[in-house]
Symmetry: C2
């Protein structure tokens, strides 16, 4: 089974970021994601430890964003979840053979593994939660128009994008 913790965490955070006014609970989020509230709580609990979200227990409680999306990078989120952004290493049998080569090869591969993880985090640090939220809301806006029967060409000609929203071009 794939490990979708990081992807799901991103989804939760974009959801909170795109709709900060609404009241969110693990149940309401789980419903939108088609999963179980406990899955959401597990992730939110980890994100809350790092202050990225704030979870309040009890009646009227729920989940809300705890940090500025413009100051939160996707790399930080991976760090928080301790999510591996590289390939999986194999292992070797413990063996008292004479040759050091197999262990040395594995060791070199693991060094490369760490290097790729670091590079991936650097890459993800270039994107903020705000950037990702922007990308999502633009896509949602486009989907909305297409759902209303508008063609992609019409959309391109009739709208411009501003702050993640589609603004009608009335300047022509």
């Amino acid at each position: 089974m794939a490990n979708t913790r990081y992807s799901t965490a991103l989804h939760i955070l974009v959801l909170l970021s795109a709709n900060r006014e609404a009241h969110h609970t693990s149940a309401s989020i789980a419903e939108q994601l088609g999963t179980n509230p406990v899955v959401i709580r597990r992730l939110v609990s980890d994100l809350a430890k790092a202050g990225l979200v704030s979870a309040r227990r009890g009646a009227g409680g729920g989940v809300s964003l705890g940090a500025d999306p413009a100051e939160t990078s996707l790399g930080q989120i991976a760090d928080i979840l301790e999510y591996d952004l590289t390939f999986d290493a194999h292992d070797l049998p413990v063996r008292e053979g004479r040759s050091h080569l197999p262990g040395a090869i594995l060791s070199a591969i693991e060094a490369q593994r760490r290097e790729l993880h670091t590079a991936s985090v650097v890459e993800l640090d270039r994107v903020t939660l705000q950037d990702l939220t922007h990308a999502a809301t633009v896509r949602a806006g486009l989907a909305e128009l297409v759902g209303q029967g508008m063609s992609n060409a019409d959309i391109r000609n009739g709208y411009r994008i501003e702050n993640g929203r589609l603004i009608p071009r009335d300047d022509r």
Copy 2:
């Protein structure tokens, strides 16, 4: 269970690259890696399709390197194996809801996913199979000396590294 195909493939290729004179078979490689010959054959078969190794059937057959390690990048190897170098995406239930937001969020996440995969391949393209082989043989040389009771400081003072081998410093 982790997907160790890429890591194992790298190990096989470094093994072949570090010891080009020896005769290698799926059985001999599997023995060194502590796995089953079929596992090796499956990987070698994929690598052979791309010309990276050459596998000869029949008596006296075996596996040998089919390309120049200096011209083979770790990114190419990932490509050949179609190995995913990014995070796993979650999925959404098919639902005819009104809101386009959940699907739009997922779509934005998947775009980010593809971007990270591309960046990872670029990163791995900076390293050749020769580089990785060099790193492994150096480590093996060091392990050999340590096994002979030499301290790391002694090693640093008494040897220099050249073409992936430890050369005694007799220039002092």
